[in-house]
Each structure stands twice: as C-alpha cells, then as structure tokens.
C-alpha cells in the first residue's frame, strides 16, 4: 500500500455550490481510481505567494490517501490539470501511514 498526499488550490471566486461540487468530483475521481481517502482538510482561502492564473488568493485543500493503484497519481493529476476550477496541485509520496492529526491546527492556522 502506498500513501500519498495531494495539496491543491481551488479558484476562490467560484460559488459555494460549485465548490462543493468540485470537492465531490475530486473525491469521486479518487474513488474511481481505487484510492481511499484517509484525511481531508480544507485550509480555507489564503493568499498565494505568487499569482496563479491572475489569482492572488486560493482555497487550499489537502487530501491524504492510500492506494495500491500505481497509476493513480498520474491519472489524478492529469484529471486535475484539465479541471478549470483547480489552479495548482501537487502530490507527494508519504513514507508512512499518516496520522489523523490536523495540519491546520498544528501548523498552518490562518494568519
């Protein structure tokens, strides 16, 4: 079993409803690729260190997941690249199974 962590930035100007739909779509895509979500965190809207596609702010979402599917990352990132609402994404491999402690609470609380 491999553990991954995907951090992606969603366009902050889309409506709440569209945002929820997007989150559902991401979750659906992970499920379709035989991935299981271990942790899901919404960091909320925060200022980007540099503008992406003319946006100065973005909503950060962190998902930690596990899967046996070796092509999951490639397919998930390919899907995210085509999604208009997602400004940026990054997936990293985790060395060990993540614990459920919140990153937001411990490290990146909004300023």
């Amino acid at each position: 079993m491999r553990y991954y962590e995907t951090l992606f930035v969603v366009n902050p100007n889309i409506e709440q409803e569209k945002f929820m739909q997007l989150i559902q779509a991401v979750k659906g895509e992970i499920a379709r690729l035989n991935g299981a979500i271990l942790n899901f965190e919404d960091w909320g809207k925060r200022r980007l260190a540099y503008p992406i596609k003319k946006h100065r702010y973005g909503s950060y979402i962190l998902i930690q997941l596990e899967s046996e599917n070796i092509s999951l990352v490639k397919e998930l990132e390919g899907w995210m690249r085509l999604n208009q609402g997602i400004l940026a994404y990054m997936t990293v491999v985790l060395d060990e199974k993540p614990t459920d402690q919140s990153v937001v609470a411990s490290q990146v609380a909004p300023e």
């Binding site: 980007l48 260190a49 540099y50 992406i52 962190l62 940026a88 990054m90 990293v92 490290q107 990146v108």
Partner: protein, 78 residues
C-alpha cells in the same frame, strides 16, 4: 570558550518534535532570505541532513505557492 559558545546548533536536531515539512511554511520562511533565496547551512547552522530536507521542502512549498520563488525587494509591498 567564547568561540565555542558561538557555534550554532541545528534547529531540527535540537528539537525532534519539529519535522521538516513543506506544509509548515512559517518555519521554512525562517530559512529563506528576504528575496526568497534559500539560506546556506553555514549561516543558519542547520546540519547537512536537515539542510537537504529543508531544500526539498522549500522547493515543494514554492511549487504550490506557499512560498515565493523570488521576491522583488525593490518594490514596496502590502
């Protein structure tokens, strides 16, 4: 003796609780210059192992816009 006491100790070796993580950009920010460049370990005193981890973490943080790639200090901000 005075020289010895000046020796810097690696922050991450000193405190094992603190892991080098790209998401923890507030800590990473202490290891980059005002311009956004990574500060060499000979200045910060970070050990080589943790400096390697730091470099990777900073580059990851830049990729996802948690840290800037560069910062124009000649331009006023905020």
């Amino acid at each position: 003796m005075a020289l010895l006491s000046k020796r810097k100790i690696c922050k991450f070796c000193e405190n094992h609780e603190e892991k080098v993580d790209y998401k923890n950009y507030k800590v990473l920010r202490r290891f980059v210059t005002e311009q956004g460049k990574i500060i060499p370990s000979r200045i910060t005193g970070t050990c080589s192992r943790h400096q390697r981890e730091l470099t990777k973490a900073i580059k990851r943080a830049r990729n996802i816009a948690l840290l800037p790639y560069s910062y124009d200090v000649t331009q006023s901000y905020k």
